[in-house]
């Protein structure tokens, strides 16, 4: 940072002087820092229960029980790796991630190109307002709305029955469940995703298009050689973010539908931790599963970012 190097050249002011100058600023950050320390940093230490046979009733509260619970070393991890349910959750997580990457990711790009090509302001305004809307709905609402359309008592089943067919219930069909989940994601957030791409499109100098047209490039060639390269950095950034987040696929969304479709099709790592820890009160075991997920997730973020740097993109954070 330039200001800092300038300060160094002139000699840094004494620590106490700086403290006096900046004490208000530091004071202002304290509430947020305190909340982060308590609710984000402190629980990291709580991961020690992954190495314990944790029993919340051993102490006066859950915290002192942490000191009194017996250590079991890697026993929890051994149990997890021996559980076929865990491997099933891992498999579901990756299948869902890949599905979302292939079926969800291109849609905002396509929609942004479409909106960008619409010339009439009224049409554009209405389209955008409608597309942003579902992003602000809760997952409970989205899942429930889907249930009203595709569920056993939904409008499709209702219409089929009225015409003498058998009703269908797409919400409880494990075979199509992963596509259903992806469709819900598209419904909720694809419209919201276009904002970033529209911004990237706006940074393309219009004379580039004109020059290309003069040189005889048609609509398609201009798209291929100007528009898409302009979107490249944003697409790369969002891909990196997505890959780094691969193990977190729709926790709330899946938890809400777990009962309807059963854990076979819907269990992912997050719901696996929830089920074992919170529902079955097997805290040490679930914490171990969560820790595995956290460590792999951290690895993915760092790797994805490294790859972005190697590709010559900015990545999530700078080196």
């Amino acid at each position: 940072m330039t200001e800092e190097s300038a300060g160094q050249r002139e000699g840094k002011p004494a620590f106490r002087l700086r403290l006096r100058r900046d004490r208000t600023l530091i004071l202002m950050t304290l509430p947020a820092i305190a909340l982060l320390l308590v609710f984000t940093y402190l629980p990291v230490l709580g991961n020690v229960v992954a190495f314990q046979d944790y029993d919340p009733y051993l102490g006066d509260n859950g915290f002192s029980a942490m000191f009194l619970s017996p250590w079991t070393g890697l026993e929890n991890f051994r149990r997890i790796f021996a559980d076929p349910g865990f491997w099933h959750a891992v498999q579901n997580t990756f299948v869902l991630f890949l599905l979302q990457l292939v079926l969800y990711f291109p849609i905002p790009v396509a929609l942004a190109l479409l909106i960008n090509s619409v010339v009439r302001p009224r049409v554009r305004a209405v389209a955008q307002a409608v597309m942003y809307l579902p992003h602000f709905f809760s997952w409970v609402l989205v899942v429930t709305v889907f249930q009203q359309i595709l569920g056993g008592a939904g409008i499709i089943a209702q219409t089929l029955r009225r015409h003498g067919h058998q009703g269908i219930d797409l919400m409880t069909d494990p075979g199509i469940f992963k596509f259903l989940v992806t469709a819900e994601g598209v419904w909720k957030d694809a419209g919201w995703g276009i904002i970033v791409f529209l911004a990237a499109l706006s940074s393309v100098p219009p004379d580039l298009y004109e020059a290309a047209a003069m040189d005889g490039a048609g609509r398609r060639r201009r798209m291929w050689h100007i528009t898409l390269p302009a979107l490249r950095p944003v697409i790369a950034l969002l891909l990196v973010l997505r890959v780094g987040d691969a193990l977190t696929v729709g926790f709330e969304q899946l938890l809400l539908q777990r009962d309807a479709v059963g854990p076979g099709a819907s269990e992912v790592l997050d719901t696996y931790v929830w089920w074992n820890g919170i529902r079955n009160q097997d805290f040490g075991y679930a914490a171990a599963a969560g820790l595995i997920k956290g460590v792999i997730g951290l690895g993915l973020v760092l790797t994805a970012n490294k790859v972005a740097h190697l590709m010559g993109e900015q990545g999530v954070y700078e080196k």
Binding site: M1, E3, R18, R21, T24, L25, I26, L27, M28, T29, P31, A32, L35, L36, F39, L42, P43, L45, G46, N47, V49, G62, F63, L114, I115, S117, V118, P121, A125, A127, Q128, F136, F137, S138, W139, V140, L141, T144, V145, Q147, Q148, Q158, W187, I195, L198, A199, L201, S202, P206, Y209, E210, M214, L256, G277, I278, G294, G297, L298, V301, L302
Partner: protein, 311 residues
Amino acid sequence: MTAATRDPWDRAGRWAAPPRPAWEEEPSKAGLAGKGLVLVLAACAILFPLWIVVVTSLQSKRTIDAAGGLVVVPRGVSLVAYRELLTGGQVQRAALVSLGVTLTGTLFSMAVSVLCAYGLSRAGSLGHRGLLMLLLATMFFGAGLIPTYLLVQALGLTDTYLALILPSAVSVFNILVLRAFFMGISPELVDSARIDGAGDWRILWQIVMPLSRPVLAVISLFYAVGYWSAWFNASIYLTDQDMMPLQNVMIQLVQKQERPVGLATQINTGQLSPLAVQMAVMVMALLPVAVLSPFVQRHFKKGMLTGAVKG
């Protein structure tokens, strides 16, 4: 973004591409029709489900029974379901809980975040880098569900509304957006205020905040939607049914098909359609965000972009 490019968003925050340049080909009829079709289909896919929910919530028991379930074409308007929901009972209480948690939570989160963002907005201030690192690091790891749950329990927050607010009060992403915006405010303005004798509190309150209204609106909406939509914390930290927020009651009533406490008699005596009640609960859950977000829409871009680029 390069400085020379146009700003394609008009003042209402809508995407306003320039008129078609003279050299560009006229689009074909088929191309136009295709575009129109895709846009109409997308709009229908989003609006049709909402239409069914809203229309069904406004029908009398007779129309709903005649339709055999959800209603697509409305016949008259009946406010029975809403009247029943708003005269007390489980749903009204849940709506008030949600409203209360959303308002206090948003205010609290905004206060904490704005202070923190301003505190970190002056490059080269003491501890600025270290504190920023402390924030950024949290974007790379999460504490995990189980340790967080155990901590909230150990702190004695279970069965209090604080459990719905404190653990998720700070969003590092939102703080970074605010900070990026604050750093973009002209330093000369801040310096001149300081020369005039204003302290940091005064600068924040009288100069920085009034200049940041758009981004404050966006971040407030993000926080408010977060609190309004939250149900998971309530589902694991609350055991008292009377404390449940609207989303959780919606899960019970609509997803699990339970009957609302206090309304069961009207439903059983056949005066009220349970379906209309369910749909009315859904409308109550979607209404606030559907009403608020268009007002803030024109500032979305700013909030999203500073976040995406500087995050």
